[in-house]
């Protein structure tokens, strides 16, 4: 199942866009590779060992031969360096590479010394909304230079009806592993808070977004939310009785500011998050954070 051939057509425009930003490392253009080698590397990924196999780059690897993170790497200490790089610089990236065993991804990134970002934490809960029975749809959006190596970048939390107090608790875990070639497009976490009533109807209670912190360490974040207001007073009255106010058509507007001037919104509650940011190899590129 050589999917990499089809993936190649999607890759080229993306690769050009990635190099437009402030580049952290320049990858050489991919060299064509035999199909056999990639399928062999794919099958070895499928066998996937449970032991951690991180091979540090040897001094024989020349620094200018940094690899594209989308290239699949299957390597061992026994294979000569030239063959290793040829197999790695293959053409496309496939879904298997993203969903594959994370130690191979880590090994890949370790070998190329690309800058990595780990976002690990929880969406704790929400407070300050008119009703308590809430859930949250969340997603993480990053720029073109960022590649998600492992983790789910969107999801939906449980619905919590708190018995005591005002805060709805979700404790939803977030665990993301990004690698990047540039600083533009630092990941943003966007949220939609919804209310589910006892009949099972869902109503939008707020949109919000927050940038993932850029300094390493543990951060306690509060994300404010807003809700679009219905236009005429008749709609607002209907919304009070029946529910179902206006919603955004696409979630892009939550985290972008380009078309916001048309909106009229009202502020709603806050969402609490606890995120830990772990950076790797950013100092090698001179990035201070």
């Amino acid at each position: 199942m050589p999917r990499h051939a089809k993936a190649r057509s999607h890759l080229m425009p993306l690769r050009r866009k990635a190099h437009e930003g402030i580049g952290l490392c320049s990858a050489p253009p991919p060299t064509p590779v035999e199909e056999q080698q990639t399928t062999r590397s794919r099958s070895s990924l499928a066998h996937g060992s449970s032991q951690c196999r991180v091979v540090r780059p040897t001094s024989a690897a020349a620094p200018h031969q940094e690899l594209d993170v989308w290239g699949k790497v299957q390597y061992s200490a026994a294979r000569p360096a030239s063959e290793r790089y040829r197999a790695a610089a293959h053409t496309g990236y496939s879904r298997a590479a993203l969903a594959g065993t994370s130690n191979d991804q880590a090994a890949k990134a370790a070998m190329t010394l690309m800058a990595e970002l780990h976002i690990i934490g929880q969406i704790i809960g929400a407070t300050g909304f008119p009703q308590n029975s809430l859930f949250c749809k969340w997603g993480v959006h990053a720029g073109g230079a960022w590649r998600l190596l492992s983790g789910l970048k969107e999801g939906q939390t449980q619905v919590d009806m708190p018995q005591t107090g005002d805060m709805a608790y979700w404790s939803h875990p977030i665990d993301l592993h990004y690698t990047t070639k540039g600083l533009q497009g630092w990941p943003k976490l966007h949220l939609q808070v919804w209310h589910q009533d006892s009949f099972g109807r869902c109503q939008l209670y707020g949109y919000g977004y927050i940038h993932v912190p850029s300094s390493p360490g543990q951060h306690r974040l509060q994300c404010v939310t807003w809700r679009p207001l219905a236009g005429p007073w008749q709609d607002q009255l209907a919304e009070m009785f029946v529910g179902g106010g206006p919603q955004l058509r696409t979630p892009d507007l939550i985290y972008s500011g380009t078309d916001r001037y048309r909106l009229h919104t009202v502020g709603m509650g806050t969402v609490e998050l606890e995120l830990c940011v772990i950076l790797r190899h950013f100092d090698r590129y001179g990035v201070e954070s």
Partner: protein, 201 residues
């Protein structure tokens, strides 16, 4: 044995499940387990445990366990950072053992002392009749595998009710994370000597 080019880093966790705060329930015990990714492996310590049964003392509303945690993990990758899943059980009016709360939190990431207070929630019955029947039979809804609480997938179909808190204390030591290039603390805060000793959820 120190190596100049380490390939794994270690995370050592010492701590305790200190106490719980459940206003409506008494005589509770807790179970804990650790959930971690594929790249992680525990090298020593206990992955699971059951505590004693504790009651609220006269005049005090807190349920104290003081239950020790001691585990060390090794890994090559922070993805899949271990989480501790705590499940609290207690008797209902008829004496059956029912679940009173599930909660999960990531093990703290930076070396030092941390205190975490996590909310505990139980799954809700889908209808009022089911709620009454389960109360009568002593079989309240519970998760078949408590590890679901530590995952993000599949949670969107669950409805829960949060009804208490558990306080945990951790002392964290990491080894070789800096050598592998991972920065978990900002240089700015390290230079000014700020330490995080208390985290409240």
């Amino acid at each position: 044995m120190t190596s100049n080019n380490p390939s794994v880093f270690l995370l050592m966790v010492n701590g305790q499940i200190e106490a719980a705060d459940f206003p409506e329930y008494d005589d509770l015990y807790c179970k804990y387990c650790f959930v971690y990714g594929h790249d992680w492996a525990p090298t020593s310590g206990l992955e699971e445990g059951i505590s004693q049964i504790t009651s609220k003392g006269r005049g005090s509303q807190s349920l104290v366990w003081n239950f020790p945690l001691d585990i060390t993990f090794k890994s090559t990758n922070p993805f899949g950072w271990p989480q501790i899943v705590v499940s609290v059980y207690g008797p209902d009016t008829f004496g059956n053992d029912v679940v009173r709360g599930y909660g999960a939190v990531h093990i703290p990431f930076t070396p030092g002392k941390h205190t975490k207070t996590i909310p505990m929630f139980v799954p809700e019955s889908t209808s009022r009749l089911q709620k009454f029947t389960s109360w009568l039979m002593g079989r309240l809804p519970e998760f078949t595998d408590p590890k679901v609480v530590a995952q993000g997938e599949g949670r969107e179909v669950t409805r829960v009710r949060s009804q208490g808190f558990v306080t945990l204390q951790f002392n964290i030591v990491t080894k070789d994370m800096k050598k592998l290039g991972y920065e978990t603390t900002s240089e700015h805060s390290a230079a000014t000597g700020l330490t995080r000793t208390s985290q409240q959820l």
